[in-house]
């Protein structure tokens, strides 16, 4: 088990982390260079229900945990049909031999009880079957009956974290644009959902075009662009109350492409005056704004570094579209992208190690990542139209928009590892675009 777990960990490290980390795990790289990245087999029996009323929830929680883990591409679930042992009590000793026999390297056991106040209490343990011991300590999570999916995601985050050494990302949400109607007349609504597509809630109606929502660093507010006034303008929406206000309303201007600063107090965005697009920032509290770029070229799609000291953005000042980094207060920018093609929509990873971007090259669109100095550019996807990456809270998975070609073309959300593996469509009831991933809740 540990070998397998470490192999998995090393796989992540080798492909995704700074060289320092891979050096520490040097010996395990042998298996990886041989391409041995086999998903780790795990078993998750239905959690033990405290009473008959919580039996369904106990089953559902186990299913969500399994779906979270399988969805990473790093784990493989062993079917419950293969189980030899039945787990009927959370406190009974684990029959390791029975789980070894079906090659379950990790085992997740748990119990669900509803206490006298109606709260759901979930306890769980993660077992290293082949070592015959628990992987870290059992945990207890308390939530509401309605919030059972969140509890399941939190358990899965713990399992993922303990086995990979990376932060989790399952207990998170995505705000996006839900799309319906024909291509020439697309109706767009802001919507919010769990990262896995569950619990969709609409935040606006389809009366006006809305574009590119962005979560605040605490996930409680959303910035987006709406054509509510007939012109694109930046709005700020409170998620809990769904109340919104126009942020930027200078007459005769248009504003778009907003993003929060890491402290959530400042918005950086593009403002168009006299046909020219530049980058501005605004203090949300006071409404005071300042211009950060001043060039006749297009400067847009700004994104802060996680420490708030720098801004990466897109500009066509060189004659084609490239990515630039400038100090957060404005000033001289240095170009970081150097390849052929058009680069756009850069987004700084929450870990600070990479910048994700859209690249248009030879008639195809790609989602890619590069180091913050522009080195080690790596394209993760290719299609007719991929754009608008957003980072999972752990900085290891990217979600983006993929639009298909032609009159019947439709936009959908996809996710991909920063290794380029595990490309998956995110389940949405309608067309969907412009995702923004929340922090862990």
């Amino acid at each position: 088990m540990m070998t397998r777990i470490l192999t998995l960990l090393a796989a992540l490290l080798l492909l995704a982390l700074p060289p320092m980390a891979t050096a520490q795990d040097g010996p395990l790289r042998i298996e990886i260079t041989e391409g041995v990245i086999e998903p780790l087999p795990f078993a998750v029996p239905d959690f033990v229900a405290g009473d008959a009323a919580s039996a369904e929830m106990s089953r559902n929680i186990a299913r969500v945990i399994a779906a979270d883990l399988v969805g990473t591409g790093l784990f493989r679930e062993i079917s419950q049909d293969a189980f030899i042992s039945r787990v009927t009590s959370f406190s009974s000793p684990v029959q390791f031999a029975d789980w070894k026999a079906i090659n379950a390297q990790a085992l997740i056991t748990g119990a669900v009880d509803v206490d006298s106040t109606g709260k759901v209490v979930v306890r769980f343990r993660v077992w290293d079957v082949f070592a015959g011991k628990e992987l870290e300590n059992g945990l207890q999570l308390v939530g509401t009956t309605d919030g059972w999916r969140r509890i399941a995601h939190k358990v899965a985050d713990q399992v993922y974290s303990r086995i990979t050494g990376e932060g989790g990302y399952f207990d998170s949400r995505v705000v996006f644009v839900a799309e319906t109607g024909p291509k020439g007349q697309r109706a767009k609504r802001l919507a919010i959902m769990d990262y896995d597509g569950a619990n969709v809630k609409y935040l606006t109606d389809s009366a006006n075009i809305v574009l590119a929502p962005r979560f605040s660093p605490t996930g409680d507010r959303i910035l987006y662009t709406s054509y509510e006034t007939g012109f694109p303008r930046v709005y700020l929406l409170d998620v809990a109350s769904v109340s919104r206000r126009e942020l930027e309303n200078q007459v005769g201007t248009m504003s778009f492409a907003p993003r929060f600063s890491p402290d959530g107090r400042t918005v950086v965005y593009s403002l168009i005056t006299g046909g020219n697009t530049d980058i501005y920032r605004m203090d949300i509290g006071s409404g005071a704004s300042a211009r950060l770029t001043s060039a006749p070229s297009i400067e847009t799609a700004p994104s802060y570094s996680p420490d708030g000291s720098q801004i990466v953005f897109e500009s066509d000042r060189s004659g084609s579209n490239h990515l630039y980094v400038m100090p957060a207060g404005g000033g001289e920018a240095r170009r970081i992208s150097s390849g052929k093609g058009q680069y756009g929509t850069p987004v700084w990873s929450p870990r600070g190690d990479y910048i994700a971007f859209t690249k248009q090259s030879k008639g195809r669109f790609h989602i890619g990542v590069m180091r913050t100095d522009g080195s080690e550019e790596r394209l993760l996807t290719a299609s007719f139209l991929d754009e608008g990456p957003t980072w999972a809270p752990n900085g290891r998975v990217i979600m983006f928009t993929r639009e298909t070609q032609g009159a019947q073309g439709q936009a959908r959300l996809y996710s991909v590892d920063i290794t380029g593996r595990n490309l998956r469509q995110v389940s949405t009831a309608t067309g969907a675009s412009d995702p923004s991933w929340s922090p862990l809740q």
């Binding site: 291509k183 075009i209 248009m254 046909g275 847009t300 756009g344 009159a407 073309g409």
Partner: protein, 179 residues
């Protein structure tokens, strides 16, 4: 209803003008439910909502069909071609003659670019038309500019024939605020 539009130019009564626009808006509402929030605007962009007769040179329909309401741009460009300038000369003349009307200039891009860049590019295109019309004497206070980026393609296929039609700036006629 066509008979309402026989009257010409400045003699046209405000009520009748409002009727034309009302008809346009009603049609626009059928085909274009969420195109504009500002109900002052007239949507002639998709060829729907023909108000009045195109043979009446003071009608928005004449502006759209005969003068030509749009100019096209090459990939990633916003400079006006000679043909575009000719169309815009006609637009400027019409606007200078029909002073009760204002115009909203919409800039658009094809789908081969990111959403953000296309909003900025659409704004450049709309601004090129804006500046040209002003240079031809149209008062700036009668013109407004909006960019739709790639959000409202007029052609929806994914080849150059469609893209060329989508890289456009469209001058949309509306009743002036002073009327």
């Amino acid at each position: 209803m066509e008979n309402t539009f026989i009257e010409r130019g400045r003699t046209m009564k405000l009520m009748q003008k409002a009727l034309i626009l009302g008809a346009v808006l009603a049609l626009a509402a059928c085909t274009n439910p969420d195109r504009f929030d500002d109900t002052n605007n007239v949507d002639l962009n998709n060829g729907a909502g023909m108000a009045g007769s195109a043979s009446d040179p003071t009608s928005p329909a004449y502006f759209q069909q005969t003068v030509g309401d749009r100019v096209l741009f090459p990939v990633n460009q916003h400079t006006l071609t000679a043909q575009a300038q000719q169309t815009l000369n006609g637009q400027a003349n019409w606007l200078l003659t029909n002073t009760d009307y204002d115009a909203l200039i919409e800039g658009h891009a094809d789908e081969r670019g990111t959403r953000e860049y296309n909003v900025a590019l659409g704004a450049r295109r709309a601004n090129s038309v804006h500046e040209y019309l002003i240079s031809q004497g149209v008062p700036a206070n009668r013109l407004r500019v909006v960019s739709y980026g790639k959000e409202r393609p007029v052609e929806i296929c994914s080849d150059e024939g469609c893209y060329a039609q989508n890289r456009r700036a469209v001058t949309v006629i509306s009743i002036g605020p002073g009327v």
